[in-house]
């Protein structure tokens, strides 16, 4: 476990105790990633990553492609299983029983338990992954009806309100193939919000969009952040990071190299790697 050597990440919230596994951690920490490693065969893509995101905070992960940003994000909602280390959401270990078995092994959760844990975390993908056989409204209603058992009428009312919130009230009955990329991504955000998530993960939400469509999606993200949603965003949009992020995390070759406020990380980079990266994207 590397000591968290950086400056306080959020002016209002002083750094929580240096040993995060000492449960119960700071009551406001929503996400705690502790010493996570991930290997795909011989490929070691995440190396001893620690990340704490507090309630209402926006963390932005930046770094060159292949640096492990997306894998770290996917470990948070168990689309990837960490090879070592653990992820806690609201202090609850993800994917395993909270205490080890007497022989020291960890009891894995059933797929139904994992699904229940995932349902509290919204995720938005680079390539949207809307359900093409359902309309925008159908996409947003699907999980509340199927997973939460919400009555259809209530789910539809909620879905229409969410589509309105992302500026797409009049597109409810269109299929994804009839929507532009930016509109599809906003439907995807509404779909994730329909599950009333405690936190939202965004995996390069604007990277697959035409340049003129990026701002309409970023506007929705800014609105969510202003409403106090806890968010982790993988992005190359430095302007967005500077404006919205409470902490910016720079990753390179599977390690977290620098973290801090946007001013610290973007304006006063310490490592040569980060300086080089910023020079290439700014």
């Amino acid at each position: 476990m590397t000591p968290e050597s950086q400056n306080p990440q959020h002016p209002q919230n002083p750094q929580h105790p240096a040993e995060p596994s000492a449960a119960p951690a700071s009551s406001t920490a929503v996400i705690q990633v502790e010493g996570v490693h991930k290997s795909f065969g011989d490929l070691h893509v995440l190396k001893d990553c620690d990340l704490t995101v507090r309630s209402g905070e926006v963390a932005v992960l930046v770094g060159p492609s292949g640096s492990g940003k997306s894998t770290l994000l996917r470990c948070i909602n168990q689309l990837e299983e960490p090879t070592a280390g653990r992820v806690l959401i609201d202090g609850v270990v993800q994917g395993y029983d909270s205490d080890p078995l007497p022989d020291g092994r960890w009891q894995k959760l059933t797929s139904a338990q994992i699904a229940a844990q995932r349902s509290r975390i919204g995720m938005v993908f680079q390539r949207f992954h809307l359900f093409p056989h359902l309309t925008a409204l159908g996409n947003v209603m699907e999980a509340p009806v199927q997973v939460r058992g919400l009555p259809k009428a209530a789910a539809e009312k909620k879905a229409r309100a969410l589509l309105e919130r992302v500026g797409l009230a009049d597109r409810a009955d269109h299929y994804p193939s009839e929507l532009s990329g930016g509109q599809q991504q906003r439907v995807a955000i509404a779909r994730a919000l329909a599950m009333d998530p405690e936190l939202m993960l965004f995996d390069e939400p604007t990277s697959a969009l035409d340049p003129e469509l990026v701002s309409e999606v970023l506007t929705v993200l800014k609105d969510l952040a202003a409403d106090g949603m806890t968010m982790v965003v993988v992005t190359h949009e430095m302007g967005f990071a500077r404006e919205v992020a409470d902490q910016v995390v720079f990753m390179d070759e599977g390690r977290i190299l620098e973290r801090g406020t946007p001013e610290q990380v973007i304006d006063h980079p310490e490592s040569e790697r980060l300086k080089g990266f910023l020079a290439s994207v700014l």
Binding site: N77, L79, S111, A112, A115, A116, R118, S119, R120, I121, G122, M123, F125, R127, H129, L130, F131, P132, H133, L134, T135, E142, A143, Q146, V147, V166, G167, R171, H174, Y175, P176, S177, E178, L179, S180, Q183, R186, A188, R191, A192, M195, E212, S215, E216, T219, V220, K222, D223
Partner: protein
């Protein structure tokens, strides 16, 4: 606009369309003429050949035995396809399972039922009551709880349905498996991220999208099944269309016109099935880029779909106001 004879003036849009004359295509005309002659020859042969006995064809086309045969053939086709599809979906899902026992059993089922001629299988099912006279529910090597005589349960009709259905299931399993595999992995990830269970993902997300890929070969298989039902005399089941027309032909000593009767009915049923397939394809094609139901035929680009839906704002600035 381009058909006007006089030199077209520059029109409102400010350009003069090209007045083109078609390139010579003698091959088109020659091949069309030869083919048309051959078709005419075939038609005159069909109309004038006395051996075909069109009068007898007309007499027996709506014979009660024939019409009943059509009904039984249709029933056999539909029931065995339903059974085959259910079995195939189960086998395909088992093939994709993490459980090696399920994968192995599914593989063995497909291997056996695809590898043995359907005629042989039908004879086996006809003899099932001899091979297995009694079905017993109980503890293996222990007491019997319930027992049935298979002779009472398995009539020739159901033996035919099971024989055809299980054979078909082995073929459909591969079709359905490739259909399920054709759905983008991102769909599963997005569903998982929403907290959906594996069963919900399969039922609500994967299968509806896979159907778009599965329906065309499924239609093909249904038409194949329609014709395979003519083998049910192997069971023996003796009420289907082929058996009915053969029976009449043997009585009259005129095989040819009764073959024509059977052929016309098979063609008629195939046409009906093709209409059904068209509507299924339309239903499961909803929301996909090409051939959206509203426009019917032809492929359109994604941009055209977006334009038609009118979802792109004329104002390129962001539509979101907050």
């Amino acid at each position: 606009m381009s058909t006007t004879q006089t030199p077209a003036p520059a029109d409102a849009q400010g350009y003069t369309p090209i007045r083109a004359k078609a390139a010579p295509r003698p091959g088109t005309w020659i091949s069309a003429a030869i083919t048309a002659l051959l078709v005419l020859g075939l038609i005159s042969f069909l109309v004038t050949n006395p051996v075909l006995e069109w009068g007898t064809v007309a007499t027996y086309l709506f014979d009660i035995k024939v019409v009943q045969g059509v009904g039984w053939t249709l029933l056999l086709t539909v029931l065995s396809m339903v059974l085959g599809t259910v079995v195939a979906l189960t086998a395909a899902v088992m093939r994709r399972s993490d459980n090696p026992v399920l994968r192995g059993v599914s593989w063995a089922y497909i291997f056996v039922f695809r590898g043995i001629p359907v005629y042989t299988q039908l004879v086996f099912w006809g003899l099932f009551t001899v091979i297995v006279p009694k079905l017993v529910i109980g503890v293996p090597f222990g007491p019997e709880l319930l027992s049935f005589s298979t002779r009472d349960l398995l009539t020739a009709f159901w033996a035919a349905v099971i024989g055809l259905g299980l054979n078909e299931g082995a073929y459909l399993a591969e079709i359905i498996r490739s259909g399920l595999n054709s759905v983008d992995k991102g769909q599963t990830e997005a569903s998982k991220a929403l907290g959906m269970s594996n069963g919900q993902i399969l039922r609500r997300i994967i299968v509806p999208q896979a159907m778009r890929v599965i329906v065309p070969p499924l239609g093909n298989e249904t038409i194949g099944m329609l014709k395979t039902t003519s083998l049910v005399l192997a069971v023996p089941f003796t009420l289907d269309l082929t058996f009915a027309t053969n029976g009449i032909a043997n009585k009259l000593f005129t095989p040819i016109p009764l073959l024509i009767v059977a052929a016309l009915w098979y063609l008629a049923i195939t046409s009906v099935l093709m209409v059904g397939q068209h509507f299924l394809e339309k239903h499961f094609g909803r929301g996909f880029d090409d051939r959206t139901p509203a426009t019917g035929r032809g492929t359109r680009s994604r941009q055209a779909a977006v334009n038609r839906a009118g979802t792109t704002p004329h104002d390129p600035l962001p539509e979101v106001e907050l």
